[in-house]
Amino acid sequence: MAIENISVLKLRDILLITVPPDPDDRTISALQDQVLEAMERYESRGLVLDISTVQTLDSFFARTIAETVQMVALMGGRTVLAGMRASVAVTATQLGLTMGKALTALDVDRALDLLKTALPRGSNL
């Protein structure tokens, strides 16, 4: 029952996390903890969650993401979900899942561009 190692990358004042293909519940919960910890440590203004390899997005995962987005917002940051797969988007929509106030982008590059325009002046990207 090992928690998969999720690395949090710091790019100037943005955090980048690559989510593994099929994380278990513990990993997803740990991800939330790691995000908040890093947000505090680095005072980041933005978070990019790279979900391009994620194969299954069920209600637990969606709820955790929505919560994380809210928490990050409370800490002064904005979140972008990058690279959702077509099959996952279809399923998530059918399930009626919302990811809260997360922004979305086709890939990490576009996510970083998006944050550049979305973050108020003074962003260090």
């Binding site: 279809v90 929509t93 576009r110």
Partner: protein
């Protein structure tokens, strides 16, 4: 088909087909397998059609139980016994299903089993007529495949510029077609890395609640990917229907024409079309 209910003037042997002209008829039919079974289900009569379709010669099959024509799964599920039961109780049993030839090859069969009774109601046996429908099934399969291809051809998703895909929908949309369209649109957006998708419904005459729901779902799904939809070509009739259905399109960008939609798309991508001789 050998329906033997009015046999008052005929002897029992006639029912089993020793009558000359009837036997001649049965023996000439090659398209149908016409087989007689005793009340327990053993083969007591065979015809050239049966040999052609099922592969057994008369000598090989006489006396054998007719369950040998069924697939292993069919036998496991008790189909032979069940079908005789229904035929005995209700007079006939009719179905389509897989059967097996002597060589173990599967074929799709249309089967009618009729119970044959004496004047006093005693069960004499069963008449079974089988037709090989494999060819018809293959044609049906081909038609189904073509229908899918036509559907795909008529709802193309085309990349018209870097970052922009256009999907003109033409014809009436049913639930299935809209769902397939949604999957195709999403896949193309990911493949081409296009943040803008123009969905044109000028060619859609009417729209019902379920299809409207699917369209809304499609737009939501596109947003989850990180792209946007501009809905264009919304005809007055469709606009009316959508409003009457209470569908909320307030957070969806719409334009009346595809051209106008393209302008929006280019604008959102910070692109501009400039004439070649501009400034000269």
């Amino acid at each position: 088909m050998p329906e033997q209910t009015n046999s008052s003037s005929k002897s029992p042997e006639t029912i089993l087909g020793t009558d000359d002209s009837f036997r001649l008829f049965v023996d000439s039919v090659r398209e149908y397998a016409i087989v007689m079974l005793d009340p327990a289900g053993h083969v007591v009569s065979w015809n050239p059609g049966a040999e052609r379709i099922k592969g057994y010669s008369q000598e090989e099959i006489m006396g054998r139980h007719f369950s040998c024509f069924y697939t292993p799964e069919g036998i496991q599920r008790g189909l032979p016994e069940h079908e005789l039961e229904v035929a005995a109780k209700e007079g006939r049993f009719e179905d389509e299903g897989w059967r097996v030839t002597k060589d173990g090859k599967r074929f799709w069969a249309s089967v009618v089993i009729t119970s044959l009774r004496e004047k006093d109601g005693r069960l004499r046996g069963f008449g079974k007529v089988t037709r090989d429908l494999t060819e018809r099934k293959q044609t049906e399969e081909r038609i189904r495949q073509q229908a899918t291809e036509i559907m795909e051809l008529s709802t193309p998703v085309m990349q018209v510029w870097q970052g922009v895909v256009v999907a003109p929908l033409i014809g009436s949309l049913d639930s299935q077609r809209t769902q397939q369209f949604m999957e195709r649109l999403l896949n193309r957006i990911v493949e081409t890395n296009s943040p803008m998708a123009l969905v044109d419904i000028m060619g859609v005459p009417t729209i019902d609640t379920q299809t409207a729901q699917h369209l809304i779902e499609t737009i939501s799904a596109v947003r989850l990917l990180g792209a946007q939809v501009v809905l264009t070509g919304v005809r007055p009739a469709i606009a009316q229907t959508l409003v009457h259905l209470g569908i909320d399109l307030s957070n969806i960008t719409t334009r009346s024409s595809l051209a106008a939609g393209l302008r929006v798309a280019l604008d959102m991508l910070n692109l501009q079309v400039v004439a070649k001789n501009a400034g000269q």
